[in-house]
Protein backbone atom coordinates (compact mmCIF):
# COMPACT_ATOMS: atom_id res chain seq x y z
CA UNK A 1 0.00 0.00 0.00
CA UNK A 2 1.22 3.50 -0.65
CA UNK A 3 0.23 6.48 1.35
CA UNK A 4 1.19 10.07 0.82
CA UNK A 5 4.32 10.71 2.88
CA UNK A 6 2.68 12.88 5.48
CA UNK A 7 0.09 10.21 6.16
CA UNK A 8 2.75 7.56 6.23
CA UNK A 9 4.68 9.57 8.78
CA UNK A 10 1.60 10.19 10.81
CA UNK A 11 0.72 6.53 10.86
CA UNK A 12 4.22 5.56 11.77
CA UNK A 13 4.40 8.06 14.58
CA UNK A 14 1.11 7.05 16.05
CA UNK A 15 1.22 3.39 15.08
CA UNK A 16 1.71 2.25 18.63
CA UNK A 17 -1.01 4.52 19.91
CA UNK A 18 -3.35 3.25 17.23
CA UNK A 19 -2.51 -0.32 18.14
CA UNK A 20 -2.85 0.36 21.82
CA UNK A 21 -6.27 1.90 21.38
CA UNK A 22 -7.55 -1.25 19.73
CA UNK A 23 -5.81 -3.65 22.05
CA UNK A 24 -6.86 -1.80 25.16
CA UNK A 25 -10.36 -1.70 23.73
CA UNK A 26 -10.32 -5.49 23.63
CA UNK A 27 -9.03 -5.60 27.18
CA UNK A 28 -11.77 -3.26 28.29
CA UNK A 29 -14.30 -5.58 26.72
CA UNK A 30 -12.79 -8.52 28.51
CA UNK A 31 -13.32 -6.65 31.77
CA UNK A 32 -16.82 -5.69 30.71
CA UNK A 33 -17.84 -9.32 30.23
CA UNK A 34 -16.93 -10.09 33.81
CA UNK A 35 -18.45 -6.96 35.31
CA UNK A 36 -21.60 -7.56 33.33
CA UNK A 37 -22.35 -10.68 35.33
CA UNK A 38 -21.65 -8.87 38.56
CA UNK A 39 -18.22 -10.30 39.21
CA UNK A 40 -15.06 -8.35 39.89
CA UNK A 41 -11.92 -9.88 38.47
CA UNK A 42 -8.44 -8.48 38.59
CA UNK A 43 -7.18 -11.38 36.53
CA UNK A 44 -7.52 -9.76 33.13
CA UNK A 45 -3.89 -8.73 33.05
CA UNK A 46 -2.90 -12.27 33.92
CA UNK A 47 -5.02 -13.66 31.11
CA UNK A 48 -3.46 -11.16 28.78
CA UNK A 49 -0.03 -12.26 29.95
CA UNK A 50 -0.84 -15.89 29.28
CA UNK A 51 -1.95 -14.99 25.78
CA UNK A 52 1.13 -12.88 25.21
CA UNK A 53 3.63 -15.38 26.53
CA UNK A 54 2.07 -18.43 24.93
CA UNK A 55 1.77 -16.74 21.55
CA UNK A 56 5.28 -15.33 21.73
CA UNK A 57 6.66 -18.77 22.47
CA UNK A 58 4.69 -20.26 19.61
CA UNK A 59 6.22 -17.70 17.29
CA UNK A 60 9.74 -17.71 18.66
CA UNK A 61 10.23 -21.38 19.47
CA UNK A 62 7.81 -23.21 17.20
CA UNK A 63 7.94 -20.70 14.35
CA UNK A 64 4.26 -21.10 13.74
CA UNK A 65 2.59 -18.67 11.34
CA UNK A 66 0.61 -15.89 12.90
CA UNK A 67 -2.74 -17.02 11.57
CA UNK A 68 -2.26 -20.13 13.69
CA UNK A 69 -0.72 -18.36 16.64
CA UNK A 70 -3.40 -15.74 17.02
CA UNK A 71 -6.36 -18.07 17.40
CA UNK A 72 -4.27 -20.45 19.48
CA UNK A 73 -3.30 -17.65 21.82
CA UNK A 74 -6.64 -17.82 23.55
CA UNK A 75 -6.33 -21.50 24.39
CA UNK A 76 -4.03 -21.23 27.38
CA UNK A 77 -5.89 -18.33 28.99
CA UNK A 78 -9.22 -20.04 28.40
CA UNK A 79 -8.02 -23.27 29.96
CA UNK A 80 -6.59 -21.34 32.85
CA UNK A 81 -9.87 -19.51 33.30
CA UNK A 82 -11.70 -22.81 33.35
CA UNK A 83 -9.29 -24.25 35.87
CA UNK A 84 -9.50 -21.33 38.26
CA UNK A 85 -13.13 -20.62 37.44
CA UNK A 86 -14.55 -23.79 38.84
CA UNK A 87 -13.18 -23.40 42.36
CA UNK A 88 -13.47 -19.60 42.47
CA UNK A 89 -17.10 -19.56 41.44
CA UNK A 90 -17.96 -19.60 45.08
CA UNK A 91 -16.32 -16.24 45.46
CA UNK A 92 -17.81 -12.96 44.50
CA UNK A 93 -17.00 -9.28 44.54
CA UNK A 94 -13.74 -8.21 46.08
CA UNK A 95 -13.05 -11.72 47.29
CA UNK A 96 -12.96 -12.94 43.72
CA UNK A 97 -10.87 -9.92 42.78
CA UNK A 98 -8.25 -10.83 45.36
CA UNK A 99 -8.22 -14.46 44.35
CA UNK A 100 -7.58 -13.46 40.76
CA UNK A 101 -4.88 -11.01 41.78
CA UNK A 102 -3.30 -13.80 43.76
CA UNK A 103 -3.29 -16.05 40.75
CA UNK A 104 -1.84 -13.27 38.64
CA UNK A 105 0.99 -12.87 41.11
CA UNK A 106 1.63 -16.59 41.05
CA UNK A 107 1.90 -16.43 37.27
CA UNK A 108 4.24 -13.48 37.53
CA UNK A 109 6.47 -15.50 39.82
CA UNK A 110 6.47 -18.24 37.22
CA UNK A 111 7.49 -15.86 34.45
CA UNK A 112 10.25 -14.53 36.66
CA UNK A 113 11.58 -17.90 37.63
CA UNK A 114 11.36 -19.93 34.45
CA UNK A 115 14.33 -19.45 32.16
CA UNK A 116 12.44 -20.30 28.95
CA UNK A 117 10.27 -17.33 29.69
CA UNK A 118 13.25 -15.05 30.00
CA UNK A 119 12.84 -14.20 33.67
CA UNK A 120 12.97 -10.50 34.37
CA UNK A 121 14.52 -9.92 30.96
CA UNK A 122 11.27 -10.98 29.34
CA UNK A 123 11.04 -12.15 25.78
CA UNK A 124 12.53 -9.84 23.19
CA UNK A 125 12.90 -10.01 19.46
CA UNK A 126 9.30 -11.00 18.87
CA UNK A 127 8.64 -10.33 15.20
CA UNK A 128 6.03 -7.71 14.40
CA UNK A 129 3.15 -9.64 12.97
CA UNK A 130 0.21 -7.66 14.20
CA UNK A 131 -1.48 -5.54 11.59
CA UNK A 132 -3.72 -2.67 12.49
CA UNK A 133 -6.66 -4.15 10.62
CA UNK A 134 -6.48 -7.37 12.62
CA UNK A 135 -6.87 -5.48 15.86
CA UNK A 136 -9.78 -3.42 14.72
CA UNK A 137 -11.51 -6.26 12.95
CA UNK A 138 -11.41 -8.27 16.15
CA UNK A 139 -12.54 -5.28 18.15
CA UNK A 140 -15.54 -4.73 15.90
CA UNK A 141 -16.44 -8.40 15.95
CA UNK A 142 -16.17 -8.49 19.72
CA UNK A 143 -18.38 -5.44 20.12
CA UNK A 144 -20.94 -6.85 17.72
CA UNK A 145 -21.08 -10.20 19.46
CA UNK A 146 -21.35 -8.64 22.89
CA UNK A 147 -23.97 -6.23 21.68
CA UNK A 148 -26.08 -9.03 20.30
CA UNK A 149 -25.64 -11.23 23.33
CA UNK A 150 -26.55 -8.25 25.45
CA UNK A 151 -29.82 -7.92 23.58
CA UNK A 152 -31.05 -11.34 24.38
CA UNK A 153 -32.15 -13.47 27.24
CA UNK A 154 -28.48 -13.94 28.12
CA UNK A 155 -27.99 -10.21 28.42
CA UNK A 156 -31.04 -9.95 30.64
CA UNK A 157 -29.88 -12.87 32.73
CA UNK A 158 -26.50 -11.23 33.13
CA UNK A 159 -27.96 -7.97 34.28
CA UNK A 160 -30.34 -9.75 36.62
CA UNK A 161 -27.59 -11.78 38.26
CA UNK A 162 -25.51 -8.66 38.60
CA UNK A 163 -28.25 -7.17 40.72
CA UNK A 164 -29.42 -10.20 42.66
CA UNK A 165 -27.90 -13.59 41.87
CA UNK A 166 -30.31 -15.49 44.09
CA UNK A 167 -33.39 -14.00 42.54
CA UNK A 168 -31.90 -14.63 39.10
CA UNK A 169 -31.43 -18.28 39.97
CA UNK A 170 -35.03 -18.52 40.97
CA UNK A 171 -35.87 -17.24 37.49
CA UNK A 172 -34.03 -20.27 36.14
CA UNK A 173 -30.73 -18.58 35.38
CA UNK A 174 -27.83 -20.96 35.83
CA UNK A 175 -25.71 -18.40 37.59
CA UNK A 176 -22.67 -20.62 38.01
CA UNK A 177 -22.55 -21.44 34.34
CA UNK A 178 -22.89 -17.84 33.26
CA UNK A 179 -20.17 -16.78 35.63
CA UNK A 180 -17.85 -19.43 34.33
CA UNK A 181 -18.80 -18.62 30.75
CA UNK A 182 -18.10 -14.96 31.30
CA UNK A 183 -14.74 -15.67 32.88
CA UNK A 184 -13.70 -17.89 29.99
CA UNK A 185 -14.95 -15.43 27.40
CA UNK A 186 -13.07 -12.67 29.11
CA UNK A 187 -9.93 -14.81 29.17
CA UNK A 188 -10.26 -15.39 25.45
CA UNK A 189 -10.58 -11.69 24.75
CA UNK A 190 -7.70 -10.81 27.02
CA UNK A 191 -5.56 -13.61 25.63
CA UNK A 192 -6.04 -12.45 22.06
CA UNK A 193 -5.31 -8.89 23.12
CA UNK A 194 -2.12 -10.15 24.76
CA UNK A 195 -1.04 -11.95 21.61
CA UNK A 196 -1.75 -8.91 19.47
CA UNK A 197 0.19 -6.74 21.89
CA UNK A 198 3.15 -9.08 22.02
CA UNK A 199 3.40 -9.16 18.24
CA UNK A 200 3.04 -5.43 17.95
CA UNK A 201 5.96 -4.39 20.07
CA UNK A 202 8.86 -6.87 19.90
CA UNK A 203 9.13 -7.26 23.62
CA UNK A 204 7.15 -8.53 26.55
CA UNK A 205 8.17 -8.60 30.18
CA UNK A 206 6.62 -10.05 33.31
CA UNK A 207 5.81 -6.69 34.87
CA UNK A 208 3.39 -5.80 32.11
CA UNK A 209 0.88 -8.26 33.49
CA UNK A 210 0.87 -7.61 37.21
CA UNK A 211 -1.29 -5.74 39.68
CA UNK A 212 -1.09 -2.27 38.17
CA UNK A 213 -2.09 -3.25 34.66
CA UNK A 214 -4.93 -5.23 36.19
CA UNK A 215 -6.20 -2.11 37.91
CA UNK A 216 -5.73 -0.10 34.72
CA UNK A 217 -7.86 -2.55 32.76
CA UNK A 218 -10.54 -2.38 35.41
CA UNK A 219 -10.48 1.38 35.22
CA UNK A 220 -11.19 1.33 31.48
CA UNK A 221 -14.53 -0.27 32.15
CA UNK A 222 -15.26 1.83 35.21
CA UNK A 223 -14.53 5.12 33.52
CA UNK A 224 -16.51 4.24 30.43
CA UNK A 225 -19.36 2.45 32.12
CA UNK A 226 -20.82 -0.97 31.56
CA UNK A 227 -24.19 -0.14 30.09
CA UNK A 228 -23.19 -1.11 26.58
CA UNK A 229 -20.02 -2.63 25.10
CA UNK A 230 -19.16 0.72 23.59
CA UNK A 231 -18.75 2.32 26.99
CA UNK A 232 -15.73 0.36 28.22
CA UNK A 233 -14.03 0.81 24.85
CA UNK A 234 -14.54 4.54 25.12
CA UNK A 235 -13.08 4.42 28.62
CA UNK A 236 -10.05 2.55 27.33
CA UNK A 237 -9.53 5.04 24.55
CA UNK A 238 -9.67 8.00 26.84
CA UNK A 239 -7.32 6.51 29.39
CA UNK A 240 -4.91 5.47 26.63
CA UNK A 241 -4.95 8.82 24.91
CA UNK A 242 -4.82 11.04 27.97
CA UNK A 243 -1.14 10.51 28.77
CA UNK A 244 -0.24 11.13 25.13
CA UNK A 245 -2.38 14.21 24.78
CA UNK A 246 -1.00 15.58 28.00
CA UNK A 247 2.65 15.12 26.99
CA UNK A 248 2.94 18.87 26.65
CA UNK A 249 2.42 19.37 30.36
CA UNK A 250 5.60 17.39 31.10
CA UNK A 251 6.02 17.43 34.86
CA UNK A 252 2.37 18.12 35.53
CA UNK A 253 1.17 15.36 33.29
CA UNK A 254 0.33 12.91 36.04
CA UNK A 255 -1.47 15.56 38.04
CA UNK A 256 -3.69 16.61 35.15
CA UNK A 257 -4.30 13.05 34.09
CA UNK A 258 -5.52 12.22 37.57
CA UNK A 259 -7.61 15.35 37.93
CA UNK A 260 -9.38 14.74 34.66
CA UNK A 261 -10.34 11.26 35.81
CA UNK A 262 -11.56 12.61 39.14
CA UNK A 263 -13.74 15.24 37.52
CA UNK A 264 -15.12 12.78 35.00
CA UNK A 265 -16.20 10.38 37.71
CA UNK A 266 -17.59 13.07 39.97
CA UNK A 267 -19.82 14.35 37.23
CA UNK A 268 -20.60 11.03 35.58
CA UNK A 269 -20.41 8.41 38.30
CA UNK A 270 -22.08 5.77 36.18
CA UNK A 271 -19.49 6.07 33.46
CA UNK A 272 -19.01 8.39 30.55
CA UNK A 273 -21.53 6.45 28.50
CA UNK A 274 -24.07 5.64 31.13
CA UNK A 275 -26.78 4.59 28.71
CA UNK A 276 -28.03 1.12 29.26
CA UNK A 277 -29.03 -1.33 26.61
CA UNK A 278 -32.66 -1.99 26.13
CA UNK A 279 -32.60 -5.67 26.70
CA UNK A 280 -35.34 -6.52 24.40
CA UNK A 281 -35.07 -7.35 20.75
CA UNK A 282 -37.46 -5.82 18.25
Amino acid sequence: MTYPPWLDDFLWTYQNVIHALGINGLLALSMYVVLAVGQLSLGQAAFMGLGAYSSALMTLKLHLPFFVVLPASCVVPALFALAIGVPTLRLSGVYLAIATIGLGEVLRAIYLNLDVLGGALGLSGIPQRTETWMIYLLLIVAIAVLWRVGHSRIGRAMEAMREDPNAAQVMGVNVQRYRLGALVASAVLAGVAGALGAHASNFIGPNEYGFEPAVTILSYALLGGIGTPFAPVLGAWILTLLPEVLRGFSDFRGVFNGLIIVLAVLFLPNGLLALRMKRRAA
Binding site: Q169, M171, G172, N174, R279, R280, A281
Partner: protein
Amino acid sequence: MTLLSTAGLTRKFAGLVAVDGVDMAVEVGSVHAVIGPNGAGKTTLFNLISGLVEPTSGSIDFNGNDISRLPVHARAGLGMARSFQNIRIFSAMTVLENVLTGLHSTITAGVGAIVLRLPGFHRAEKTAVERARMALELVGLSSKSELLAGALPYGDQRRLEIARAMAAHPRLLLLDEPAAGMNPAETSSLAALVRRIRDAGTTVLLVEHDMGFVMDISDAVTVLNFGRRIFHGPPGAIRQEPAVIEAYLGKKMAARLAARKDGQKAIAP
Protein backbone atom coordinates in the same frame (compact mmCIF):
# COMPACT_ATOMS: atom_id res chain seq x y z
CA MET B 1 -52.98 -36.12 42.21
CA THR B 2 -50.23 -34.44 44.15
CA LEU B 3 -47.88 -32.04 42.42
CA LEU B 4 -45.64 -31.30 45.34
CA SER B 5 -45.11 -33.18 48.53
CA THR B 6 -42.69 -32.90 51.38
CA ALA B 7 -41.80 -35.60 53.85
CA GLY B 8 -40.24 -34.89 57.22
CA LEU B 9 -38.84 -31.66 55.85
CA THR B 10 -36.61 -30.04 58.46
CA ARG B 11 -34.33 -27.04 58.55
CA LYS B 12 -32.32 -25.88 61.52
CA PHE B 13 -30.53 -22.58 61.99
CA ALA B 14 -28.00 -22.51 64.77
CA GLY B 15 -30.08 -24.25 67.38
CA LEU B 16 -33.39 -22.99 66.06
CA VAL B 17 -35.62 -25.39 64.18
CA ALA B 18 -37.29 -23.18 61.63
CA VAL B 19 -39.06 -25.98 59.80
CA ASP B 20 -39.65 -29.10 61.80
CA GLY B 21 -40.56 -32.37 60.10
CA VAL B 22 -43.22 -30.95 57.84
CA ASP B 23 -45.28 -33.33 55.73
CA MET B 24 -47.38 -31.60 53.17
CA ALA B 25 -49.05 -32.42 49.90
CA VAL B 26 -50.19 -29.92 47.32
CA GLU B 27 -52.82 -31.14 44.88
CA VAL B 28 -52.55 -30.37 41.20
CA GLY B 29 -54.76 -27.49 40.20
CA SER B 30 -55.42 -26.29 43.72
CA VAL B 31 -54.74 -23.08 45.56
CA HIS B 32 -53.00 -24.13 48.73
CA ALA B 33 -52.37 -21.65 51.52
CA VAL B 34 -49.72 -21.87 54.24
CA ILE B 35 -50.47 -19.70 57.21
CA GLY B 36 -49.06 -19.33 60.66
CA PRO B 37 -47.68 -16.80 63.10
CA ASN B 38 -44.69 -14.65 62.31
CA GLY B 39 -41.56 -16.71 62.39
CA ALA B 40 -43.45 -19.98 62.04
CA GLY B 41 -41.26 -21.08 59.15
CA LYS B 42 -43.43 -20.33 56.15
CA THR B 43 -40.84 -18.45 54.16
CA THR B 44 -38.22 -20.98 55.11
CA LEU B 45 -40.50 -23.67 53.76
CA PHE B 46 -40.72 -21.75 50.47
CA ASN B 47 -36.96 -21.36 50.44
CA LEU B 48 -36.58 -25.09 50.90
CA ILE B 49 -38.98 -25.84 48.08
CA SER B 50 -37.37 -23.38 45.68
CA GLY B 51 -33.88 -24.46 46.71
CA LEU B 52 -32.51 -21.25 48.21
CA VAL B 53 -32.07 -23.07 51.51
CA GLU B 54 -30.90 -26.65 51.83
CA PRO B 55 -32.87 -29.03 54.03
CA THR B 56 -31.24 -30.36 57.17
CA SER B 57 -33.26 -33.52 56.59
CA GLY B 58 -36.36 -34.69 54.80
CA SER B 59 -37.25 -34.71 51.16
CA ILE B 60 -39.23 -32.77 48.58
CA ASP B 61 -40.97 -34.43 45.71
CA PHE B 62 -42.06 -32.41 42.73
CA ASN B 63 -44.07 -33.99 39.97
CA GLY B 64 -42.63 -37.40 40.76
CA ASN B 65 -38.96 -36.33 41.08
CA ASP B 66 -37.01 -35.95 44.26
CA ILE B 67 -35.78 -32.40 43.95
CA SER B 68 -34.36 -31.88 47.42
CA ARG B 69 -30.78 -31.58 46.14
CA LEU B 70 -31.44 -29.97 42.80
CA PRO B 71 -29.88 -26.56 42.13
CA VAL B 72 -32.18 -23.58 42.22
CA HIS B 73 -32.20 -22.84 38.53
CA ALA B 74 -32.96 -26.44 37.66
CA ARG B 75 -36.09 -26.33 39.77
CA ALA B 76 -37.20 -23.31 37.81
CA GLY B 77 -36.55 -25.33 34.69
CA LEU B 78 -38.93 -27.99 35.97
CA GLY B 79 -41.72 -25.45 36.14
CA MET B 80 -41.49 -23.83 39.53
CA ALA B 81 -41.64 -20.08 40.08
CA ARG B 82 -41.94 -17.87 43.10
CA SER B 83 -42.27 -14.35 44.41
CA PHE B 84 -40.44 -12.97 47.41
CA GLN B 85 -41.78 -11.63 50.66
CA ASN B 86 -39.08 -8.95 50.82
CA ILE B 87 -39.46 -7.68 47.32
CA ARG B 88 -36.55 -8.65 45.10
CA ILE B 89 -37.19 -7.21 41.71
CA PHE B 90 -34.28 -6.16 39.49
CA SER B 91 -34.64 -2.50 40.17
CA ALA B 92 -32.24 -1.24 37.50
CA MET B 93 -34.11 -3.06 34.74
CA THR B 94 -37.39 -2.01 33.22
CA VAL B 95 -40.63 -3.59 34.24
CA LEU B 96 -40.90 -5.53 31.01
CA GLU B 97 -37.33 -6.76 31.24
CA ASN B 98 -38.02 -8.02 34.73
CA VAL B 99 -40.83 -10.15 33.43
CA LEU B 100 -38.74 -11.33 30.48
CA THR B 101 -36.12 -12.50 32.94
CA GLY B 102 -38.83 -14.60 34.51
CA LEU B 103 -39.27 -16.22 31.12
CA HIS B 104 -35.57 -17.07 30.91
CA SER B 105 -35.87 -20.83 30.86
CA THR B 106 -38.67 -20.81 28.33
CA ILE B 107 -36.66 -19.01 25.69
CA THR B 108 -34.69 -21.61 23.82
CA ALA B 109 -32.44 -19.63 21.48
CA GLY B 110 -28.80 -20.63 21.99
CA VAL B 111 -25.69 -18.47 21.81
CA GLY B 112 -25.21 -19.22 18.13
CA ALA B 113 -28.74 -18.21 17.26
CA ILE B 114 -28.36 -15.08 19.35
CA VAL B 115 -25.10 -13.94 17.82
CA LEU B 116 -26.11 -14.77 14.26
CA ARG B 117 -29.62 -13.49 14.79
CA LEU B 118 -31.11 -16.64 13.32
CA PRO B 119 -34.86 -16.71 12.80
CA GLY B 120 -35.24 -18.89 15.87
CA PHE B 121 -33.92 -16.08 17.97
CA HIS B 122 -36.41 -13.55 16.73
CA ARG B 123 -39.26 -15.98 17.10
CA ALA B 124 -38.33 -16.87 20.66
CA GLU B 125 -37.91 -13.25 21.68
CA LYS B 126 -41.18 -12.27 20.10
CA THR B 127 -43.16 -14.93 21.90
CA ALA B 128 -41.47 -14.04 25.13
CA VAL B 129 -42.34 -10.38 24.79
CA GLU B 130 -45.94 -11.30 24.04
CA ARG B 131 -46.15 -13.49 27.08
CA ALA B 132 -44.54 -10.88 29.24
CA ARG B 133 -46.98 -8.25 28.10
CA MET B 134 -49.83 -10.59 28.83
CA ALA B 135 -48.59 -11.13 32.36
CA LEU B 136 -48.27 -7.39 32.89
CA GLU B 137 -51.74 -6.89 31.54
CA LEU B 138 -53.08 -9.38 34.06
CA VAL B 139 -51.56 -7.59 37.04
CA GLY B 140 -52.46 -4.20 35.64
CA LEU B 141 -48.97 -2.92 34.94
CA SER B 142 -49.07 -2.68 31.14
CA SER B 143 -48.89 1.07 31.14
CA LYS B 144 -45.69 1.00 33.19
CA SER B 145 -43.78 -1.60 31.22
CA GLU B 146 -40.99 0.75 30.18
CA LEU B 147 -40.38 2.29 33.61
CA LEU B 148 -37.42 1.26 35.70
CA ALA B 149 -38.72 -1.24 38.21
CA GLY B 150 -37.02 0.50 41.12
CA ALA B 151 -39.17 3.58 40.61
CA LEU B 152 -42.43 1.74 41.09
CA PRO B 153 -44.39 2.27 44.30
CA TYR B 154 -44.36 -0.61 46.74
CA GLY B 155 -47.67 -2.11 45.76
CA ASP B 156 -46.76 -2.11 42.10
CA GLN B 157 -43.45 -3.77 42.86
CA ARG B 158 -45.41 -6.57 44.49
CA ARG B 159 -47.55 -6.94 41.43
CA LEU B 160 -44.45 -7.02 39.29
CA GLU B 161 -43.07 -9.84 41.45
CA ILE B 162 -46.21 -11.79 40.75
CA ALA B 163 -46.19 -11.06 37.03
CA ARG B 164 -42.55 -12.09 36.78
CA ALA B 165 -43.24 -15.36 38.55
CA MET B 166 -46.38 -16.32 36.64
CA ALA B 167 -45.35 -15.20 33.16
CA ALA B 168 -43.82 -18.56 32.32
CA HIS B 169 -47.03 -20.40 33.23
CA PRO B 170 -45.20 -22.53 35.76
CA ARG B 171 -46.62 -25.77 37.03
CA LEU B 172 -46.26 -24.50 40.55
CA LEU B 173 -46.38 -20.88 41.59
CA LEU B 174 -45.18 -19.96 45.07
CA LEU B 175 -46.42 -16.59 46.30
CA ASP B 176 -45.03 -15.26 49.56
CA GLU B 177 -47.45 -12.69 50.97
CA PRO B 178 -48.67 -11.38 47.63
CA ALA B 179 -51.30 -9.13 49.23
CA ALA B 180 -48.98 -7.33 51.62
CA GLY B 181 -49.10 -3.64 50.95
CA MET B 182 -52.35 -3.79 49.00
CA ASN B 183 -55.60 -2.27 50.12
CA PRO B 184 -58.78 -4.38 50.31
CA ALA B 185 -59.98 -3.41 46.86
CA GLU B 186 -56.61 -4.30 45.38
CA THR B 187 -56.54 -7.49 47.40
CA SER B 188 -59.79 -8.71 45.97
CA SER B 189 -58.64 -8.11 42.43
CA LEU B 190 -55.53 -10.07 43.34
CA ALA B 191 -57.77 -12.88 44.52
CA ALA B 192 -59.48 -12.87 41.16
CA LEU B 193 -56.12 -13.01 39.47
CA VAL B 194 -54.99 -15.97 41.54
CA ARG B 195 -58.16 -17.78 40.63
CA ARG B 196 -57.56 -17.12 36.98
CA ILE B 197 -54.02 -18.39 37.26
CA ARG B 198 -55.29 -21.53 38.86
CA ASP B 199 -57.95 -21.96 36.23
CA ALA B 200 -55.28 -21.66 33.56
CA GLY B 201 -53.69 -24.77 35.04
CA THR B 202 -51.09 -23.47 37.46
CA THR B 203 -51.05 -24.84 40.96
CA VAL B 204 -50.61 -22.08 43.51
CA LEU B 205 -48.97 -22.39 46.91
CA LEU B 206 -49.15 -19.17 48.87
CA VAL B 207 -48.37 -17.63 52.21
CA GLU B 208 -50.60 -14.83 53.38
CA HIS B 209 -51.66 -13.14 56.58
CA ASP B 210 -54.77 -11.59 55.07
CA MET B 211 -57.28 -14.14 56.27
CA GLY B 212 -60.12 -12.87 54.12
CA PHE B 213 -57.98 -13.44 51.09
CA VAL B 214 -56.94 -16.90 52.25
CA MET B 215 -60.49 -17.96 53.01
CA ASP B 216 -61.66 -16.64 49.68
CA ILE B 217 -59.36 -18.41 47.33
CA SER B 218 -57.75 -21.40 48.91
CA ASP B 219 -58.80 -24.97 48.43
CA ALA B 220 -56.63 -26.24 51.26
CA VAL B 221 -54.81 -24.67 54.17
CA THR B 222 -51.75 -25.81 56.08
CA VAL B 223 -51.02 -24.07 59.36
CA LEU B 224 -47.50 -23.95 60.76
CA ASN B 225 -46.46 -23.00 64.25
CA PHE B 226 -42.87 -23.08 65.47
CA GLY B 227 -41.97 -24.92 62.31
CA ARG B 228 -44.43 -27.69 62.90
CA ARG B 229 -47.63 -28.43 61.07
CA ILE B 230 -50.50 -27.94 63.45
CA PHE B 231 -53.37 -28.14 61.02
CA HIS B 232 -54.21 -29.23 57.55
CA GLY B 233 -57.62 -29.12 55.93
CA PRO B 234 -60.17 -27.05 54.07
CA PRO B 235 -60.21 -23.32 54.87
CA GLY B 236 -63.62 -23.42 56.43
CA ALA B 237 -62.36 -25.68 59.18
CA ILE B 238 -59.67 -23.41 60.61
CA ARG B 239 -61.96 -21.03 62.42
CA GLN B 240 -63.15 -23.82 64.60
CA GLU B 241 -59.73 -25.28 65.26
CA PRO B 242 -58.69 -24.26 68.80
CA ALA B 243 -54.96 -24.69 68.19
CA VAL B 244 -55.09 -22.34 65.22
CA ILE B 245 -57.20 -19.79 67.05
CA GLU B 246 -54.86 -19.85 69.99
CA ALA B 247 -51.63 -19.60 68.01
CA TYR B 248 -52.59 -17.47 65.11
CA LEU B 249 -56.04 -16.04 64.59
CA GLY B 250 -57.04 -14.89 67.99
CA LYS B 251 -60.63 -15.12 69.18
CA LYS B 252 -61.75 -11.89 67.59
CA MET B 253 -60.54 -12.81 64.16
CA ALA B 254 -62.02 -16.29 64.43
CA ALA B 255 -65.36 -14.75 65.30
CA ARG B 256 -65.12 -12.30 62.47
CA LEU B 257 -64.23 -15.04 60.04
CA ALA B 258 -67.21 -17.00 61.18
CA ALA B 259 -69.46 -14.00 60.64
CA ARG B 260 -67.97 -12.55 57.49
CA LYS B 261 -69.71 -12.11 54.27
CA ASP B 262 -67.63 -12.98 51.31
CA GLY B 263 -65.26 -10.46 49.77
CA GLN B 264 -64.96 -8.34 52.86
CA LYS B 265 -61.62 -7.50 54.31
CA ALA B 266 -61.61 -9.55 57.44
CA ILE B 267 -58.57 -8.33 59.18
CA ALA B 268 -59.69 -5.33 61.21
CA PRO B 269 -59.70 -5.83 64.94
